[in-house]
C-alpha cells in the first residue's frame, strides 16, 4: 500500500506506538495515509481500536517477517 508518511515504531511497546501515531498524525493533511511500522504484536488490535475511537480510517495491516505495517488514513483534523 502507498503511504504519504512513514512512522518507525520498531522496538516500542504499548502505549508508545499510539502516542507516536497521535504526534505524527498532526503532521498529516486530511486524506493522507500513514504507514506505521512496528514489532509489538499488540498494535494489530490496538491501531484499529484507536481508529474507531478517534474516527480515523483504518486501512489494514501487512506482516513481513518481524515487521508489522499498519495503514491509517487521516479523515479529520
Amino acid at each position: 500500500m502507498k503511504a504519504d508518511k512513514t512512522l518507525d515504531c520498531m522496538g516500542f511497546y504499548c502505549p508508545l506506538p499510539i502516542v507516536k501515531t497521535v504526534e505524527k498524525f498532526k503532521e498529516l493533511k486530511t486524506g493522507e495515509i500513514l504507514e506505521m511500522v512496528g514489532d509489538d504484536r499488540g498494535i494489530i488490535k490496538d491501531m484499529p481500536a484507536w481508529c474507531e475511537a478517534t474516527g480515523h480510517e483504518f486501512l489494514g495491516v501487512e506482516e513481513e517477517g518481524g515487521e508489522i505495517k499498519v495503514y491509517m488514513k487521516k479523515t479529520h483534523d
Binding site: G11, F12, Y13, C14, P15, L16, I18, V19, T21, V22, A49, W50, A53, T54
Partner: protein
C-alpha cells in the same frame, strides 16, 4: 399507586439524563511500581484516543507524585518518622512482589529500559504534555503525614482536592478505574 409509578419513571428518566463525557478518571491508591506503570499506560493511551483524562492520587499513590529531590516537610515527630520510612517519589517506587530487597525492582527497571518503556518519571511528564490532569488528594495527605501543600509534590501536579471532586469527575466519565 399510579402517582408512585409516575415518580419512579421520572426518577429513572432523570438518571439517564446525566450525560457521560468521553472521559477517563483513574483513582490511583497504590504506590507500587507496576501499578503506577499500568495507571500511566492507560492514562496516556486514553489521552491518545481523545479522552479527557484525570488521575486522582490517594494514600500510597501520593508517593508517585511526591517530588524526588529534597526533603518532605512535615510537623511533629510521628509525621517526620512516617515520611522518613515512606519517602516516596517516582524514582523510589518498588514492585509489589519480587522486590527482593530491591533486586527485583532493579531487574524490572533494566527490562523497562531494554524494551524502550518510559520510566514513571518520563510517563508523568508525557502524561502532563498530553493534557492529563494530575490531582493529589488532600484528605489522605493528613493520614499519610504529608503537608497538603504544593511544595510537597512535583510541579506537574495540577491541583489538590478531596473526594467530592473525584466523584464528580467519575460520575461524568465513561470509564472510571481504581488502581
Amino acid at each position: 399507586m399510579a402517582t408512585k409509578e409516575k415518580v419512579m419513571t421520572a426518577v429513572k428518566e432523570k438518571d439517564q439524563e446525566v450525560e457521560k463525557e468521553n472521559r477517563l478518571t483513574i483513582a490511583v491508591l497504590s504506590g507500587d511500581l507496576e501499578r503506577a506503570l499500568a495507571a500511566f499506560m492507560l492514562a496516556t493511551t486514553g489521552a491518545s484516543m481523545g479522552m479527557k483524562v484525570s488521575m486522582f492520587f490517594t494514600f500510597w499513590g501520593l508517593n508517585i507524585i511526591k517530588k524526588n529531590e529534597g526533603s518532605i516537610k512535615s510537623k511533629g515527630l510521628m509525621r517526620k518518622m512516617l515520611n522518613m520510612m515512606n519517602r516516596g517519589g517516582s524514582k523510589r517506587l518498588k514492585l509489589s512482589r519480587f522486590n527482593m530487597f530491591g533486586l527485583g525492582t532493579w531487574m524490572m527497571k533494566g527490562l523497562m529500559k531494554e524494551t524502550n518503556m518510559p520510566s514513571i518519571d518520563e510517563f508523568i511528564i508525557m502524561a502532563k504534555d498530553m493534557g492529563v490532569e494530575l490531582i493529589g488528594c488532600t484528605t489522605t495527605c493528613g493520614v499519610m503525614g504529608i503537608a497538603p501543600e504544593e511544595e510537597t509534590f512535583r510541579s506537574e501536579v495540577d491541583s489538590l482536592s478531596g473526594a467530592a471532586y473525584f466523584l464528580n469527575l467519575a460520575s461524568k466519565s465513561k470509564v472510571t478505574l481504581f488502581i
